[in-house]
Amino acid sequence: MIVTTPNEPTAPVAKLPESANIPILATRDACISYGTNQVVTNVSFSVPETKITAIIGPSGCGKSTLLRSFNRMNDFIPTIDIRGDIQLRGESLYAKDIDPVEVRRKIGMVFQKPNPFPKSIYKNVTWGPNLHGYKGNHDELVEKSLTRVALWDEVKDRLHESAMGLSGGQQQRLCIARAIAMQPDVLLMDEPCSALDPVSTSRIEDLLFELKERYTIVIVTHNMQQAARVSDFTAFLDRGVLVEFGETDQVFTRPKEQRTADYVTGRFG
Protein backbone atom coordinates (compact mmCIF):
# COMPACT_ATOMS: atom_id res chain seq x y z
CA MET A 1 0.00 0.00 0.00
CA ILE A 2 1.30 3.43 -0.90
CA VAL A 3 0.72 5.93 1.84
CA THR A 4 3.14 8.64 0.85
CA THR A 5 5.54 9.24 -1.95
CA PRO A 6 8.65 11.29 -1.23
CA ASN A 7 8.34 13.65 -4.19
CA GLU A 8 4.86 14.75 -3.30
CA PRO A 9 4.74 18.31 -2.02
CA THR A 10 2.82 18.78 1.20
CA ALA A 11 2.71 22.51 0.68
CA PRO A 12 2.69 23.04 -3.09
CA VAL A 13 3.90 26.06 -5.08
CA ALA A 14 5.86 29.17 -4.08
CA LYS A 15 8.87 28.59 -1.93
CA LEU A 16 10.14 32.16 -2.08
CA PRO A 17 10.90 33.57 1.39
CA GLU A 18 8.47 36.50 1.13
CA SER A 19 5.65 34.13 0.23
CA ALA A 20 5.58 32.87 3.79
CA ASN A 21 3.27 35.73 4.67
CA ILE A 22 1.07 35.36 1.61
CA PRO A 23 -2.05 33.39 2.57
CA ILE A 24 -2.93 30.39 0.43
CA LEU A 25 -6.44 31.71 -0.16
CA ALA A 26 -7.70 35.14 0.70
CA THR A 27 -10.73 37.23 -0.06
CA ARG A 28 -10.40 41.02 -0.17
CA ASP A 29 -13.58 43.11 0.02
CA ALA A 30 -15.47 40.52 -2.01
CA CYS A 31 -18.91 41.67 -3.11
CA ILE A 32 -21.08 39.22 -5.00
CA SER A 33 -24.48 39.91 -6.50
CA TYR A 34 -27.01 38.14 -8.66
CA GLY A 35 -28.35 40.90 -10.90
CA THR A 36 -29.34 43.64 -8.48
CA ASN A 37 -29.51 41.33 -5.48
CA GLN A 38 -26.30 41.63 -3.49
CA VAL A 39 -25.72 38.46 -1.47
CA VAL A 40 -22.13 38.94 -0.24
CA THR A 41 -20.87 42.33 0.95
CA ASN A 42 -17.26 43.36 1.57
CA VAL A 43 -16.05 40.03 2.90
CA SER A 44 -12.35 39.84 3.73
CA PHE A 45 -10.48 37.05 5.44
CA SER A 46 -7.52 34.77 4.86
CA VAL A 47 -7.77 31.00 4.90
CA PRO A 48 -4.97 29.46 6.98
CA GLU A 49 -2.92 26.76 5.30
CA THR A 50 -3.43 23.06 6.12
CA LYS A 51 -6.25 23.97 8.45
CA ILE A 52 -9.98 23.49 8.22
CA THR A 53 -11.93 26.71 7.92
CA ALA A 54 -15.68 26.53 8.40
CA ILE A 55 -18.07 29.08 6.95
CA ILE A 56 -21.28 29.13 8.98
CA GLY A 57 -24.38 31.24 8.95
CA PRO A 58 -28.16 31.08 8.55
CA SER A 59 -29.74 29.90 5.28
CA GLY A 60 -29.37 32.45 2.51
CA CYS A 61 -26.49 34.28 4.16
CA GLY A 62 -24.34 33.84 1.05
CA LYS A 63 -21.97 31.20 2.41
CA SER A 64 -22.35 28.82 -0.54
CA THR A 65 -22.14 31.68 -3.01
CA LEU A 66 -18.91 32.82 -1.39
CA LEU A 67 -17.50 29.29 -1.44
CA ARG A 68 -18.36 28.83 -5.10
CA SER A 69 -16.61 32.05 -5.99
CA PHE A 70 -13.36 30.52 -4.65
CA ASN A 71 -13.12 28.17 -7.65
CA ARG A 72 -15.13 30.27 -10.09
CA MET A 73 -18.06 27.89 -10.15
CA ASN A 74 -20.29 30.97 -10.10
CA ASP A 75 -19.10 31.82 -13.61
CA PHE A 76 -21.89 29.63 -14.97
CA ILE A 77 -24.55 31.94 -13.56
CA PRO A 78 -25.09 34.59 -16.26
CA THR A 79 -26.18 37.42 -13.96
CA ILE A 80 -23.41 36.98 -11.41
CA ASP A 81 -21.22 39.98 -10.61
CA ILE A 82 -18.14 39.69 -8.43
CA ARG A 83 -16.17 42.71 -7.23
CA GLY A 84 -13.28 42.96 -4.84
CA ASP A 85 -10.68 40.25 -5.10
CA ILE A 86 -10.11 36.61 -4.27
CA GLN A 87 -6.52 35.47 -4.34
CA LEU A 88 -4.73 32.15 -4.43
CA ARG A 89 -1.18 32.68 -3.10
CA GLY A 90 -1.52 36.37 -3.77
CA GLU A 91 -2.64 35.91 -7.37
CA SER A 92 -6.06 37.19 -8.25
CA LEU A 93 -8.40 34.41 -9.38
CA TYR A 94 -10.40 36.91 -11.38
CA ALA A 95 -7.54 38.55 -13.27
CA LYS A 96 -8.09 38.81 -17.02
CA ASP A 97 -5.35 36.35 -17.95
CA ILE A 98 -6.52 33.64 -15.52
CA ASP A 99 -8.32 30.67 -17.08
CA PRO A 100 -11.07 29.40 -14.75
CA VAL A 101 -10.27 25.86 -15.91
CA GLU A 102 -6.82 26.21 -14.35
CA VAL A 103 -8.31 27.71 -11.16
CA ARG A 104 -10.55 24.66 -10.75
CA ARG A 105 -7.62 22.31 -11.20
CA LYS A 106 -5.86 23.96 -8.27
CA ILE A 107 -8.94 24.39 -6.09
CA GLY A 108 -11.06 21.26 -5.83
CA MET A 109 -14.67 21.03 -4.76
CA VAL A 110 -16.97 18.52 -3.09
CA PHE A 111 -20.70 19.12 -3.45
CA GLN A 112 -23.68 18.85 -1.17
CA LYS A 113 -25.17 15.82 -2.90
CA PRO A 114 -22.73 13.06 -3.83
CA ASN A 115 -22.32 13.34 -7.61
CA PRO A 116 -20.04 10.55 -8.83
CA PHE A 117 -19.84 10.08 -12.57
CA PRO A 118 -21.97 7.19 -13.85
CA LYS A 119 -18.76 5.35 -14.67
CA SER A 120 -16.57 2.86 -12.86
CA ILE A 121 -15.03 3.70 -9.47
CA TYR A 122 -11.61 3.60 -11.12
CA LYS A 123 -12.57 6.05 -13.88
CA ASN A 124 -14.14 8.40 -11.36
CA VAL A 125 -10.72 8.90 -9.81
CA THR A 126 -8.66 9.01 -13.02
CA TRP A 127 -10.96 11.16 -15.18
CA GLY A 128 -9.92 14.48 -13.66
CA PRO A 129 -6.15 13.90 -13.68
CA ASN A 130 -6.38 12.59 -17.26
CA LEU A 131 -7.99 15.83 -18.39
CA HIS A 132 -4.84 17.63 -17.45
CA GLY A 133 -2.45 15.13 -18.94
CA TYR A 134 -1.57 13.13 -15.81
CA LYS A 135 1.70 11.32 -16.46
CA GLY A 136 1.96 9.08 -13.38
CA ASN A 137 0.80 5.54 -12.74
CA HIS A 138 -2.99 5.24 -12.78
CA ASP A 139 -3.30 2.20 -10.50
CA GLU A 140 -1.10 3.91 -7.93
CA LEU A 141 -3.12 7.12 -8.12
CA VAL A 142 -6.40 5.25 -7.64
CA GLU A 143 -5.10 3.24 -4.69
CA LYS A 144 -3.53 6.26 -3.02
CA SER A 145 -6.57 8.47 -3.44
CA LEU A 146 -9.04 5.84 -2.28
CA THR A 147 -6.83 4.90 0.67
CA ARG A 148 -6.75 8.52 1.83
CA VAL A 149 -10.53 8.63 2.00
CA ALA A 150 -10.64 5.20 3.73
CA LEU A 151 -12.55 3.68 0.84
CA TRP A 152 -9.86 1.41 -0.62
CA ASP A 153 -10.59 -1.66 1.48
CA GLU A 154 -14.31 -1.45 0.76
CA VAL A 155 -14.01 -1.18 -3.02
CA LYS A 156 -10.66 -2.67 -4.02
CA ASP A 157 -12.35 -5.80 -5.42
CA ARG A 158 -14.84 -3.89 -7.54
CA LEU A 159 -12.88 -0.94 -8.89
CA HIS A 160 -14.30 -1.47 -12.37
CA GLU A 161 -17.91 -1.63 -11.29
CA SER A 162 -20.17 1.40 -11.54
CA ALA A 163 -19.81 4.01 -8.81
CA MET A 164 -23.59 4.31 -8.78
CA GLY A 165 -23.74 1.02 -6.88
CA LEU A 166 -22.04 2.54 -3.82
CA SER A 167 -23.94 3.80 -0.78
CA GLY A 168 -24.43 7.54 -0.34
CA GLY A 169 -21.59 7.83 2.16
CA GLN A 170 -19.25 5.79 -0.02
CA GLN A 171 -20.19 7.92 -3.03
CA GLN A 172 -19.33 11.09 -1.12
CA ARG A 173 -15.96 9.66 -0.06
CA LEU A 174 -15.36 8.73 -3.69
CA CYS A 175 -16.12 12.34 -4.65
CA ILE A 176 -13.53 13.49 -2.10
CA ALA A 177 -11.04 10.97 -3.51
CA ARG A 178 -11.78 12.27 -6.99
CA ALA A 179 -11.06 15.81 -5.82
CA ILE A 180 -7.81 15.03 -3.98
CA ALA A 181 -6.53 12.91 -6.89
CA MET A 182 -5.94 16.29 -8.53
CA GLN A 183 -3.55 17.32 -5.70
CA PRO A 184 -5.47 20.55 -5.17
CA ASP A 185 -3.99 23.46 -3.23
CA VAL A 186 -7.33 24.03 -1.56
CA LEU A 187 -10.34 21.74 -1.15
CA LEU A 188 -13.76 23.37 -0.97
CA MET A 189 -16.68 21.48 0.56
CA ASP A 190 -20.24 22.68 0.23
CA GLU A 191 -22.22 21.04 3.05
CA PRO A 192 -20.67 17.67 2.21
CA CYS A 193 -22.60 15.76 4.87
CA SER A 194 -26.06 17.26 4.58
CA ALA A 195 -27.33 14.39 2.39
CA LEU A 196 -25.75 11.67 4.53
CA ASP A 197 -26.79 9.65 7.57
CA PRO A 198 -25.05 10.21 10.96
CA VAL A 199 -22.68 7.24 10.56
CA SER A 200 -21.47 8.36 7.14
CA THR A 201 -21.25 11.91 8.45
CA SER A 202 -18.96 10.94 11.29
CA ARG A 203 -16.77 8.95 8.89
CA ILE A 204 -16.36 12.01 6.68
CA GLU A 205 -15.60 14.17 9.71
CA ASP A 206 -12.89 11.70 10.79
CA LEU A 207 -11.58 11.87 7.26
CA LEU A 208 -11.31 15.65 7.40
CA PHE A 209 -8.86 15.38 10.31
CA GLU A 210 -6.66 13.11 8.21
CA LEU A 211 -6.90 15.27 5.14
CA LYS A 212 -5.96 18.54 6.80
CA GLU A 213 -2.42 17.29 7.28
CA ARG A 214 -1.97 17.79 3.56
CA TYR A 215 -4.76 19.96 2.33
CA THR A 216 -6.24 23.32 3.11
CA ILE A 217 -9.97 22.79 3.51
CA VAL A 218 -12.82 25.29 3.44
CA ILE A 219 -16.13 23.79 4.47
CA VAL A 220 -19.57 25.36 4.37
CA THR A 221 -21.96 23.89 6.88
CA HIS A 222 -25.32 24.75 8.37
CA ASN A 223 -24.58 22.36 11.20
CA MET A 224 -22.91 24.32 14.00
CA GLN A 225 -21.95 21.22 15.95
CA GLN A 226 -20.13 20.01 12.88
CA ALA A 227 -18.32 23.32 12.50
CA ALA A 228 -17.33 23.23 16.17
CA ARG A 229 -16.16 19.62 15.92
CA VAL A 230 -14.10 19.67 12.76
CA SER A 231 -12.86 23.17 12.05
CA ASP A 232 -9.84 25.12 13.29
CA PHE A 233 -11.13 28.47 12.11
CA THR A 234 -14.66 29.73 11.68
CA ALA A 235 -16.11 32.51 9.58
CA PHE A 236 -19.61 33.59 10.57
CA LEU A 237 -21.65 35.20 7.81
CA ASP A 238 -24.97 36.91 8.29
CA ARG A 239 -26.91 38.48 5.42
CA GLY A 240 -23.79 38.51 3.28
CA VAL A 241 -21.63 40.30 5.83
CA LEU A 242 -18.72 38.68 7.61
CA VAL A 243 -19.64 39.17 11.25
CA GLU A 244 -16.73 37.38 12.79
CA PHE A 245 -13.70 35.36 11.79
CA GLY A 246 -11.40 33.64 14.23
CA GLU A 247 -10.27 30.41 15.78
CA THR A 248 -13.20 28.07 16.18
CA ASP A 249 -12.76 27.78 19.95
CA GLN A 250 -12.87 31.51 20.34
CA VAL A 251 -15.83 32.01 17.97
CA PHE A 252 -17.91 29.40 19.73
CA THR A 253 -16.95 30.05 23.36
CA ARG A 254 -15.91 33.70 23.52
CA PRO A 255 -17.47 35.40 20.48
CA LYS A 256 -16.60 39.07 20.11
CA GLU A 257 -19.88 39.98 18.47
CA GLN A 258 -23.32 39.72 20.02
CA ARG A 259 -24.79 38.40 16.74
CA THR A 260 -22.28 35.54 16.71
CA ALA A 261 -23.12 34.70 20.30
CA ASP A 262 -26.83 34.67 19.49
CA TYR A 263 -26.30 32.43 16.49
CA VAL A 264 -23.94 29.86 18.01
CA THR A 265 -26.11 29.54 21.09
CA GLY A 266 -29.13 28.94 18.86
CA ARG A 267 -31.03 32.11 19.63
CA PHE A 268 -31.57 32.83 15.92
CA GLY A 269 -30.94 31.28 12.55
Binding site: P78, F111, K113, M164
Partner: protein, 292 residues
Amino acid sequence: MTTSDLMFDSNLGKRQRRAARFRRLVAGATWSGVVLLAVMLFHIVKEGIGWVDWQFLTSFPSIDAEKAGIKAALAGTIWVIGLTACISIPVGVASAIYLEEYAKPSRLNRLIEVNISNLAGVPSIVYGMLGATIFVRWLHLGQSVLAGALTLSLLILPVIIIASREAIRAVPSSLRQAAFALGATRWQTVSGHVLPAATPGILTGVILALSRSMGETAPLVMMGALTYVAYTPTGITDEFTALPIIIYNWSDRPQQVFHELAAGGIVVLLAVLLAMNAIAVFIRHRSQRNSP
Protein backbone atom coordinates in the same frame (compact mmCIF):
# COMPACT_ATOMS: atom_id res chain seq x y z
CA MET B 1 -70.93 9.28 14.40
CA THR B 2 -67.68 11.03 15.12
CA THR B 3 -67.12 14.77 14.88
CA SER B 4 -65.27 14.44 11.61
CA ASP B 5 -68.25 12.69 10.04
CA LEU B 6 -70.30 15.78 10.81
CA MET B 7 -67.68 18.08 9.33
CA PHE B 8 -67.39 16.42 5.91
CA ASP B 9 -69.81 15.20 3.30
CA SER B 10 -67.20 12.99 1.70
CA ASN B 11 -69.48 11.32 -0.85
CA LEU B 12 -66.89 8.56 -1.23
CA GLY B 13 -69.07 6.27 -3.35
CA LYS B 14 -69.55 8.91 -6.03
CA ARG B 15 -65.84 9.84 -6.05
CA GLN B 16 -64.79 6.23 -6.45
CA ARG B 17 -67.28 5.70 -9.26
CA ARG B 18 -65.89 8.77 -11.04
CA ALA B 19 -62.36 7.40 -10.58
CA ALA B 20 -63.40 4.07 -12.06
CA ARG B 21 -65.09 5.83 -15.00
CA PHE B 22 -61.90 7.75 -15.77
CA ARG B 23 -59.85 4.57 -15.59
CA ARG B 24 -62.19 2.92 -18.11
CA LEU B 25 -61.92 5.99 -20.37
CA VAL B 26 -58.09 6.03 -20.57
CA ALA B 27 -57.92 2.21 -20.86
CA GLY B 28 -60.51 2.35 -23.65
CA ALA B 29 -58.51 4.99 -25.51
CA THR B 30 -55.38 2.86 -25.29
CA TRP B 31 -57.04 -0.36 -26.37
CA SER B 32 -59.00 1.13 -29.25
CA GLY B 33 -55.69 2.29 -30.72
CA VAL B 34 -54.04 -1.05 -30.16
CA VAL B 35 -56.95 -3.00 -31.64
CA LEU B 36 -57.17 -0.72 -34.69
CA LEU B 37 -53.45 -1.15 -35.32
CA ALA B 38 -53.66 -4.91 -34.87
CA VAL B 39 -56.54 -5.18 -37.35
CA MET B 40 -54.65 -3.11 -39.91
CA LEU B 41 -51.48 -5.09 -39.42
CA PHE B 42 -53.34 -8.39 -39.68
CA HIS B 43 -55.06 -7.27 -42.87
CA ILE B 44 -51.82 -6.13 -44.51
CA VAL B 45 -49.83 -9.18 -43.46
CA LYS B 46 -52.60 -11.56 -44.59
CA GLU B 47 -52.75 -9.89 -47.99
CA GLY B 48 -49.05 -9.37 -48.55
CA ILE B 49 -47.11 -12.08 -46.74
CA GLY B 50 -47.74 -14.60 -49.55
CA TRP B 51 -45.77 -12.39 -51.92
CA VAL B 52 -42.79 -11.80 -49.64
CA ASP B 53 -40.16 -14.31 -50.67
CA TRP B 54 -36.60 -14.24 -51.93
CA GLN B 55 -37.72 -13.58 -55.49
CA PHE B 56 -39.74 -10.55 -54.27
CA LEU B 57 -36.74 -9.10 -52.46
CA THR B 58 -34.26 -9.65 -55.28
CA SER B 59 -36.25 -8.69 -58.38
CA PHE B 60 -36.66 -5.40 -60.12
CA PRO B 61 -40.16 -4.03 -60.82
CA SER B 62 -42.03 -5.64 -63.69
CA ILE B 63 -45.43 -5.37 -65.33
CA ASP B 64 -45.71 -9.09 -64.68
CA ALA B 65 -46.76 -9.32 -61.04
CA GLU B 66 -45.24 -12.78 -60.66
CA LYS B 67 -41.79 -11.46 -61.55
CA ALA B 68 -42.02 -8.05 -59.86
CA GLY B 69 -39.90 -7.28 -56.85
CA ILE B 70 -38.61 -4.50 -54.66
CA LYS B 71 -34.85 -4.89 -55.04
CA ALA B 72 -34.36 -1.37 -56.41
CA ALA B 73 -36.72 0.20 -53.87
CA LEU B 74 -35.22 -1.60 -50.88
CA ALA B 75 -31.70 -0.69 -51.96
CA GLY B 76 -32.80 2.89 -52.66
CA THR B 77 -34.41 3.20 -49.23
CA ILE B 78 -31.30 1.85 -47.50
CA TRP B 79 -29.08 4.24 -49.46
CA VAL B 80 -31.27 7.29 -48.85
CA ILE B 81 -31.97 6.60 -45.18
CA GLY B 82 -28.34 5.71 -44.52
CA LEU B 83 -27.20 8.97 -46.06
CA THR B 84 -29.98 10.87 -44.29
CA ALA B 85 -28.70 9.48 -40.99
CA CYS B 86 -25.12 10.49 -41.86
CA ILE B 87 -26.27 14.07 -42.57
CA SER B 88 -29.02 14.67 -40.03
CA ILE B 89 -27.54 13.04 -36.90
CA PRO B 90 -24.28 15.04 -36.75
CA VAL B 91 -25.94 18.32 -37.74
CA GLY B 92 -28.95 17.79 -35.47
CA VAL B 93 -27.04 16.67 -32.39
CA ALA B 94 -24.43 19.40 -32.87
CA SER B 95 -27.18 22.04 -33.10
CA ALA B 96 -28.78 20.67 -29.95
CA ILE B 97 -25.44 20.80 -28.11
CA TYR B 98 -24.89 24.38 -29.25
CA LEU B 99 -28.36 25.53 -28.23
CA GLU B 100 -28.27 23.77 -24.84
CA GLU B 101 -24.66 24.12 -23.76
CA TYR B 102 -23.19 27.14 -25.53
CA ALA B 103 -25.82 29.59 -26.77
CA LYS B 104 -26.43 32.51 -24.45
CA PRO B 105 -30.03 33.61 -24.03
CA SER B 106 -30.33 36.27 -26.72
CA ARG B 107 -33.17 37.47 -28.92
CA LEU B 108 -31.67 35.72 -31.96
CA ASN B 109 -31.36 32.41 -30.13
CA ARG B 110 -34.95 32.70 -28.88
CA LEU B 111 -36.02 33.25 -32.49
CA ILE B 112 -34.07 30.18 -33.63
CA GLU B 113 -35.58 28.04 -30.87
CA VAL B 114 -39.17 29.05 -31.65
CA ASN B 115 -38.66 28.46 -35.35
CA ILE B 116 -37.16 25.00 -34.90
CA SER B 117 -40.33 24.01 -33.08
CA ASN B 118 -42.41 25.51 -35.86
CA LEU B 119 -40.40 23.72 -38.55
CA ALA B 120 -41.17 20.36 -36.92
CA GLY B 121 -44.82 20.97 -37.74
CA VAL B 122 -44.39 21.92 -41.42
CA PRO B 123 -46.04 19.38 -43.77
CA SER B 124 -43.57 17.08 -45.50
CA ILE B 125 -44.71 18.06 -48.99
CA VAL B 126 -43.41 21.58 -48.34
CA TYR B 127 -39.97 20.09 -47.69
CA GLY B 128 -40.39 18.16 -50.94
CA MET B 129 -40.93 21.41 -52.83
CA LEU B 130 -37.98 22.98 -51.06
CA GLY B 131 -35.80 19.98 -51.95
CA ALA B 132 -36.96 20.06 -55.57
CA THR B 133 -36.13 23.74 -55.84
CA ILE B 134 -32.83 23.92 -53.94
CA PHE B 135 -31.18 20.54 -54.31
CA VAL B 136 -32.58 19.23 -57.60
CA ARG B 137 -32.64 22.46 -59.59
CA TRP B 138 -30.35 25.08 -58.04
CA LEU B 139 -27.59 22.73 -56.98
CA HIS B 140 -28.13 20.48 -60.03
CA LEU B 141 -28.08 17.31 -57.95
CA GLY B 142 -30.86 15.82 -60.06
CA GLN B 143 -33.16 13.13 -58.70
CA SER B 144 -30.21 11.57 -56.91
CA VAL B 145 -29.79 9.72 -53.63
CA LEU B 146 -27.98 12.80 -52.30
CA ALA B 147 -30.85 15.15 -53.18
CA GLY B 148 -33.33 12.77 -51.56
CA ALA B 149 -31.24 12.41 -48.43
CA LEU B 150 -30.76 16.17 -48.11
CA THR B 151 -34.50 16.71 -48.48
CA LEU B 152 -35.34 14.09 -45.85
CA SER B 153 -32.62 15.51 -43.58
CA LEU B 154 -34.29 18.91 -43.72
CA LEU B 155 -37.55 17.21 -42.84
CA ILE B 156 -36.30 15.41 -39.74
CA LEU B 157 -33.67 17.87 -38.46
CA PRO B 158 -36.16 19.79 -36.30
CA VAL B 159 -37.35 16.55 -34.71
CA ILE B 160 -33.78 15.40 -34.01
CA ILE B 161 -32.79 18.79 -32.60
CA ILE B 162 -35.82 18.98 -30.31
CA ALA B 163 -35.42 15.39 -29.04
CA SER B 164 -31.66 15.82 -28.50
CA ARG B 165 -32.18 19.09 -26.64
CA GLU B 166 -34.67 17.43 -24.33
CA ALA B 167 -32.22 14.59 -23.69
CA ILE B 168 -29.32 16.97 -23.03
CA ARG B 169 -31.46 19.14 -20.76
CA ALA B 170 -32.43 16.06 -18.74
CA VAL B 171 -28.79 15.39 -17.79
CA PRO B 172 -28.54 16.51 -14.15
CA SER B 173 -26.52 19.71 -13.70
CA SER B 174 -24.70 18.07 -10.78
CA LEU B 175 -22.89 15.93 -13.35
CA ARG B 176 -21.72 19.00 -15.27
CA GLN B 177 -20.64 20.69 -12.05
CA ALA B 178 -18.65 17.62 -11.00
CA ALA B 179 -16.76 17.76 -14.29
CA PHE B 180 -16.24 21.52 -14.24
CA ALA B 181 -15.01 21.38 -10.64
CA LEU B 182 -12.22 19.06 -11.78
CA GLY B 183 -11.10 21.65 -14.29
CA ALA B 184 -12.79 20.22 -17.37
CA THR B 185 -13.39 22.52 -20.31
CA ARG B 186 -16.89 22.84 -21.72
CA TRP B 187 -16.09 20.36 -24.47
CA GLN B 188 -14.50 17.84 -22.08
CA THR B 189 -17.61 18.06 -19.92
CA VAL B 190 -19.96 17.62 -22.86
CA SER B 191 -18.07 14.81 -24.58
CA GLY B 192 -17.12 12.98 -21.38
CA HIS B 193 -20.37 13.11 -19.45
CA VAL B 194 -23.27 15.04 -20.95
CA LEU B 195 -23.38 13.24 -24.31
CA PRO B 196 -22.94 9.72 -22.88
CA ALA B 197 -25.73 10.41 -20.38
CA ALA B 198 -27.97 11.87 -23.07
CA THR B 199 -27.29 9.14 -25.66
CA PRO B 200 -30.34 6.95 -24.89
CA GLY B 201 -32.69 9.92 -25.23
CA ILE B 202 -30.97 11.21 -28.34
CA LEU B 203 -31.10 7.75 -29.93
CA THR B 204 -34.81 7.46 -29.30
CA GLY B 205 -35.44 10.73 -31.07
CA VAL B 206 -33.10 9.88 -33.92
CA ILE B 207 -34.64 6.48 -34.56
CA LEU B 208 -38.18 7.87 -34.43
CA ALA B 209 -37.19 10.60 -36.88
CA LEU B 210 -35.43 8.19 -39.25
CA SER B 211 -38.40 5.82 -39.11
CA ARG B 212 -40.65 8.70 -40.05
CA SER B 213 -38.42 9.69 -42.94
CA MET B 214 -38.32 6.11 -44.17
CA GLY B 215 -42.08 6.09 -44.60
CA GLU B 216 -42.25 9.52 -46.24
CA THR B 217 -43.55 9.44 -49.80
CA ALA B 218 -44.62 13.00 -50.51
CA PRO B 219 -41.23 14.76 -50.39
CA LEU B 220 -39.59 12.14 -52.58
CA VAL B 221 -42.42 12.18 -55.13
CA MET B 222 -42.31 15.99 -55.06
CA MET B 223 -38.60 16.10 -55.81
CA GLY B 224 -39.18 13.70 -58.63
CA ALA B 225 -37.78 10.39 -57.44
CA LEU B 226 -38.38 7.74 -60.07
CA THR B 227 -41.03 5.04 -59.79
CA TYR B 228 -39.55 2.59 -62.24
CA VAL B 229 -35.87 1.82 -61.65
CA ALA B 230 -34.24 -1.34 -62.90
CA TYR B 231 -30.91 -0.96 -61.15
CA THR B 232 -29.65 -0.40 -57.61
CA PRO B 233 -27.75 2.79 -56.74
CA THR B 234 -23.97 2.44 -56.67
CA GLY B 235 -23.24 5.93 -55.37
CA ILE B 236 -24.86 8.99 -53.92
CA THR B 237 -25.27 10.66 -57.32
CA ASP B 238 -27.32 7.79 -58.79
CA GLU B 239 -31.04 8.02 -59.30
CA PHE B 240 -33.17 5.89 -57.05
CA THR B 241 -36.61 4.79 -55.99
CA ALA B 242 -37.74 3.99 -52.45
CA LEU B 243 -40.10 1.57 -50.73
CA PRO B 244 -42.94 4.01 -50.03
CA ILE B 245 -42.83 5.19 -53.64
CA ILE B 246 -43.14 1.73 -55.09
CA ILE B 247 -45.88 0.89 -52.58
CA TYR B 248 -47.75 4.05 -53.59
CA ASN B 249 -47.24 3.23 -57.25
CA TRP B 250 -48.49 -0.33 -56.97
CA SER B 251 -51.53 0.51 -54.88
CA ASP B 252 -52.49 3.08 -57.53
CA ARG B 253 -52.83 0.42 -60.22
CA PRO B 254 -56.24 -1.01 -61.10
CA GLN B 255 -55.22 -4.71 -60.90
CA GLN B 256 -55.92 -6.38 -57.56
CA VAL B 257 -52.69 -8.39 -57.80
CA PHE B 258 -50.61 -5.21 -57.53
CA HIS B 259 -52.49 -4.20 -54.40
CA GLU B 260 -51.30 -7.45 -52.89
CA LEU B 261 -47.76 -6.66 -54.03
CA ALA B 262 -48.12 -3.26 -52.30
CA ALA B 263 -49.12 -5.07 -49.12
CA GLY B 264 -46.01 -7.22 -49.48
CA GLY B 265 -43.94 -4.05 -49.80
CA ILE B 266 -45.54 -2.66 -46.65
CA VAL B 267 -44.66 -5.85 -44.78
CA VAL B 268 -41.00 -5.42 -45.79
CA LEU B 269 -41.06 -1.72 -44.84
CA LEU B 270 -42.54 -2.58 -41.44
CA ALA B 271 -39.93 -5.31 -40.93
CA VAL B 272 -37.11 -2.82 -41.65
CA LEU B 273 -38.69 -0.30 -39.23
CA LEU B 274 -39.02 -2.96 -36.54
CA ALA B 275 -35.40 -3.98 -37.02
CA MET B 276 -34.29 -0.33 -36.66
CA ASN B 277 -36.32 0.10 -33.48
CA ALA B 278 -34.91 -3.15 -32.11
CA ILE B 279 -31.38 -1.88 -32.67
CA ALA B 280 -32.29 1.35 -30.88
CA VAL B 281 -33.72 -0.55 -27.92
CA PHE B 282 -30.58 -2.69 -27.79
CA ILE B 283 -28.25 0.32 -27.81
CA ARG B 284 -30.36 2.13 -25.21
CA HIS B 285 -30.31 -0.89 -22.98
CA ARG B 286 -26.55 -1.16 -23.25
CA SER B 287 -25.86 2.49 -22.52
CA GLN B 288 -28.34 2.59 -19.65
CA ARG B 289 -26.74 -0.25 -17.74
CA ASN B 290 -24.06 2.04 -16.39
CA SER B 291 -26.26 5.05 -15.69
CA PRO B 292 -27.79 6.20 -12.41
